[in-house]
Assembly symmetry: C2
Homo-oligomer: 525 residues x 2
Amino acid sequence: MSRQRVIAYDSTLRDGAQAQGVSFSVEDKLKIVQRLDKLGIGYIEAGNPGSNPKDLEFFARVGELNLQHAKIIAFGSTRRIGITAAEDKNLQSLLSANTQAVAIFGKSWDYQVTDILRTTLEENLAMIGDTIAFLKSQDKEVVFDAEHFYDGYKANAVYALNTLQAAADAGANVLALCDTNGGTFPNEIFEITQAVVARFPTLEIGIHCHNDCEMAVANSVAAVQAGAVQVQGTINGIGERCGNANLVSIIPNVQLKLGLECISSAQLAELTTAARFVSEVANVTFNDKAPYVGHDAFSHKGGMHIDAVNKNPKSYEHVSPNMVGNERHILVSEVAGRGAILNKLQQIDPTLTKESDEAIQILEHLKALEHEGYQFESAESSFDLLMQKLLGKFQPFFRLKQYSVYIHEPSVNGINSSATVHIYVDNQESEVTAYGDGPVYALDKAMRKALEPFYPIIKDIKLIDYKVRVLDSNLATAAKVRVMIESTDQQSNWTTIGVSSDILEASWLALKDAIEYKLFKTKKV
Amino acid sequence: MSRQRVIAYDSTLRDGAQAQGVSFSVEDKLKIVQRLDKLGIGYIEAGNPGSNPKDLEFFARVGELNLQHAKIIAFGSTRRIGITAAEDKNLQSLLSANTQAVAIFGKSWDYQVTDILRTTLEENLAMIGDTIAFLKSQDKEVVFDAEHFYDGYKANAVYALNTLQAAADAGANVLALCDTNGGTFPNEIFEITQAVVARFPTLEIGIHCHNDCEMAVANSVAAVQAGAVQVQGTINGIGERCGNANLVSIIPNVQLKLGLECISSAQLAELTTAARFVSEVANVTFNDKAPYVGHDAFSHKGGMHIDAVNKNPKSYEHVSPNMVGNERHILVSEVAGRGAILNKLQQIDPTLTKESDEAIQILEHLKALEHEGYQFESAESSFDLLMQKLLGKFQPFFRLKQYSVYIHEPSVNGINSSATVHIYVDNQESEVTAYGDGPVYALDKAMRKALEPFYPIIKDIKLIDYKVRVLDSNLATAAKVRVMIESTDQQSNWTTIGVSSDILEASWLALKDAIEYKLFKTKKV
């Protein structure tokens, strides 16, 4: 066994799909497979054909992809009690997925066998052995997932090891040890894994952790330190309960800190975009505080920290953000003080100093806006625009006279809203009414239609995310709301913000910023 | 040193306030202090009077609270270079906070002294010693936070230990070792902490970790295993970059898994509500997947898992949810299949079985709604209501004829929306128009006004959270939106859902469910 290489084994599409609120279409799955293959993931566990007939369509289509790195894994269970493996319908489904490699889970905790499965300890060993022998007779590469292995080992080490032995004797290629309930600590994982590695020196040992103690990443790394060579996990830790072990943290930990090879450096630099991509396809809010890849992972807010990072990044950064495709952010906030804002202002006008009247006024203005509920930390485009406006560098592209929106329910032919936007561009007037199912949609449409004759480039802008946050929930619907809008022109994305006690007005402000930002950038080029 | 007790040291209000998007008012801070005191936290680091003059008001007022457990800590830095401690203005501010205990951070990494602080290694030792000796002369209990201790130890162990020695010689009560950049692994933390514990056997050793490798909880626990007795962290891991070590996971880990005493069992049962309370005050979205306290932490979705948990909870739960004040959730979703839904249906009508026509029809209906974008996993009240409706147990409280909303901008006297709601209650008609700043507000107001004459209890319902999620971002503002509304009557909270391509219609559906749910529950009682 070479310890030089660690294989990443992704189960986002199988165990990850068990997460609350997560479900993948066949198209979603194919998109994610391609992205993970590009990232250098070694195995992609993509479904359980036995429990989900929809997965068969996926397996048929994934075979047509020309994958470079990843082997696709179909996942299933040991044969049912008292029948032969060849008779088991789920195993037949598993074979029909037609993958080169399969993963089979079986029970390693004695109490689970007797109390949950309700069979004998001997029959469970036979179920493991028969199933794997049958799959090996079909020329499959077999990963044996020893469910509840660590709990089982602590309860009855002899039996837990016997389940691995049954799998090994039947020809399993990998023994993956599962901390299914996520209740084990790193020191225990290390010791038990080390014992298994010593007992099965010719087999690859894998690790599969859950995050119920907030230790899944540490546990996975501890197993690698003990000799495990295959790490199972999911992208962003998506998974049931508290989630699976997060491969997005494990890969750089193993690669940058332990010096083992998992994916190439070029692939590692794709980690941030890959993590965000999966989050988007899974429709799970991306965690801004995610280690390595989150927006905040290399963000500096405290005044002193910013000074130190300006002197030497390693003072508050454990690795360099560009190694994982992320970037450093110097945050604009009250706490950061003038230093951070000056950084931004000087990008616009290099002659400005800390003591400039403009800098002082802008700081005051920002504080007032922050007090109102604006948060520019996550809406840098609105912030840029505001700086340009406050420094007098921004010439308005249009002027609003009035907008109005009328909504009625029941709707008529699926239309329940009309919006009228009345603007001036220089001396020319434009008043346009648009209809739609929903007031924000109608308003966005009317604004675009009013502006497009003057600025055709607006056609390229697509709104890709729209988020609303209630700021002071105690006031309920009278409370202020903060709308954040993410837009794209296919080349780049930008985020803008609007705050108001009226959700439509907040949306209008953010939509307006989104369009003004694009127009301003284009004009500058 | 007794190893039996571990002291929780909370820095949510100081280091946590460095997090992107977090800022606390004086009122917020006082509320959180009282809640953490009740939870049994030993120390509450509550501010840095030197860097933030607003904190002085807080310290004046916190002195008037009658705290049972917690000591309040004022936080500051070692004296500046080349002056005496008594001359240092920040130290004077620190004393003016008038706390019994203070924390002082100083540098332990040689390169930080020479390259960031830009002074000599000797002067840094003098700064640590002088500052602590001065504070001890003022009768303070002193925690020394050794910044970057682990990085410093790895670079120059002799110097890192010398900084601790300087603090110890000057009379520090606690030496807290900081993994400031969050880049250290549990095995390193364990070994280095063990060396420090051996070197300073008569002093209390503390640990302060950050989550940049997703290992802050594991690192903190490793330090405790090595002999640390004070654990610094924040509630929910709020903090700069990837966050601080999460006390909400560390406390049950230490108490339930290592068998050490940290807070009482009764206090531990308050952990879930305390974590959610702090999240609300900090206005940070609560992580549903948070270990121990998240909504999903004991949620079971996969059909097989649900069967096993019904047989014995320990099959997929590492601890019992009630120990930490959380509860088990059996989730309703396509994957869960009929078993989970049957659980719910039988609560309404115990005569129903898996094979009942009603159960089969309801399952079909649910699948269609999930396909439309409904997600009942997080909106149990809408789900309950739906079950009641589908089983014919729900008599409508009112019938809508029409609603309409008109919005115009600029607003007039702060009002930009009017909503008219026209309903029937039995044979009586009610048509009411309400005005407001924002269409959702106006609509909510009109609906309540129309219904209140018939159902005065509606006055007790308060909307406390309002969330919007865009379901298919590719369609931008034409996409479907999911509105989730949380309501309270002070006794309990309930969440309802509405899905539509129109945000106002989705809000209407969720508002309507919120009111119907309350009316239905009240009628049943």
